[in-house]
């Protein structure tokens, strides 16, 4: 019985320790990123399913913001009213610093 407790304690302790280490590392090694990327990422479904061809929603958001990806329809689980429309509206309101807009469209 007591060894089972040890198993719990050891795993919890290790998890906590490594989690703390990672938290510190993520602060020390923080990279400043375009804030529009995380905004667009929040508007995607965030399933990280990879159906769009990118490894996850974050990479898809990066490419939408940079203008490399213009077809939102690649995001298969996305809904017109919940995901596509807010992103199109957001990209309309937030152009690049020099004023160019990368507004994506939806082609299923």
């Amino acid at each position: 019985m007591i060894t089972v407790l040890w198993a719990f304690l050891i795993l919890a302790g290790l998890g906590l320790l490594l989690g703390l280490g990672l938290a510190i590392a993520s602060i020390v090694l923080h990279v400043k990123e375009d804030e529009r990327i995380s905004a667009v990422e929040k508007m995607l479904p965030n399933y990280n399913c990879g159906a769009c061809g990118y490894p996850g929603c974050h990479q898809m958001a990066e490419n939408i913001v940079s203008g490399a990806e213009t077809n939102l329809g690649k995001c298969k689980p996305g809904k017109q009213d919940k995901n596509y429309d807010p992103i199109i509206a957001y990209m309309n309101e937030h152009p690049d610093e020099d004023g160019t807009k990368h507004v994506p469209t939806v082609k299923k």
Binding site: T3, W6, A7, I10, L11, L14, G15, L18, G21, L22, A25, S26, L29, H30, V31, P55
Partner: protein
């Protein structure tokens, strides 16, 4: 002195004779996936080497001084995966900070080091064959050197293949797999290197 000789011999044996990719068949995924450009192959090799050596360094005391005395050595796999996953996260953050272009080139294969069986294979082998600390590190260093050397050789061959006249049916991945097979046969010749 004897121990030092055994240590060096173990490194040669783990890197060349029982090579991680070509005779133990670990870590094939990143080997095939990233082994098409020399630069990204070399960086992948260094990233994997770092994770293997650090994982062996951290997992040895955790297994021998925490898990075994507490009577729960069956927690080894889950603990090792926990350590490896954290290490890979740190390496990922580090590369993202200091070389965003490399981060892009490695892509999905960088987080996939977590499930690279070369890493878990080394630490599991260390505990399963009850190696002492020195030999565990020899295994880790030898395996890393082996992975690094082989993935760079492989990338060199594949860069040459890109400009050569390959039959249409073999273009791309098929010829890459055949190349890996021929390399494995070539490394088989090293099996008599250490008596």
């Amino acid at each position: 002195m004897n121990y030092l000789a055994a240590f060096l011999l173990a490194i040669v044996s783990y890197s060349l004779v029982s090579n991680v990719v070509l005779s133990r068949f670990y870590g094939i995924c990143s080997f095939i996936g990233v082994g098409n450009k020399i630069k990204s192959a070399a960086s992948m090799g260094i990233a994997v080497s770092f994770v293997i050596i650090m994982a062996a360094l951290i997992c040895y005391p955790i297994y021998n001084f925490i898990l075994v005395p507490a009577g729960v050595p069956y927690l080894d796999t889950i603990t090792f995966i926990l350590v490896i996953a954290s290490l890979v996260q740190v390496v990922g953050l580090f590369i993202k900070k200091f070389s965003p272009s490399l981060y892009k080139a490695l892509g999905i294969y960088l987080p996939l080091i977590t499930t690279n069986c070369a890493v878990l294979g080394v630490v599991s082998e260390n505990t399963a064959s009850k190696l002492d600390f020195g030999m565990s590190m020899a295994n880790a260093i030898g395996t890393s050197i082996g992975f690094l050397v082989v993935i760079i050789i492989y990338a060199c061959i594949r860069e040459r293949l890109e400009s050569s006249n390959v039959p249409k049916a073999f273009k791309g991945i098929p010829i890459a797999l055949i190349t890996a097979g021929i390399m494995a046969i070539a490394f088989l010749g090293l099996s008599g290197l250490i008596g």
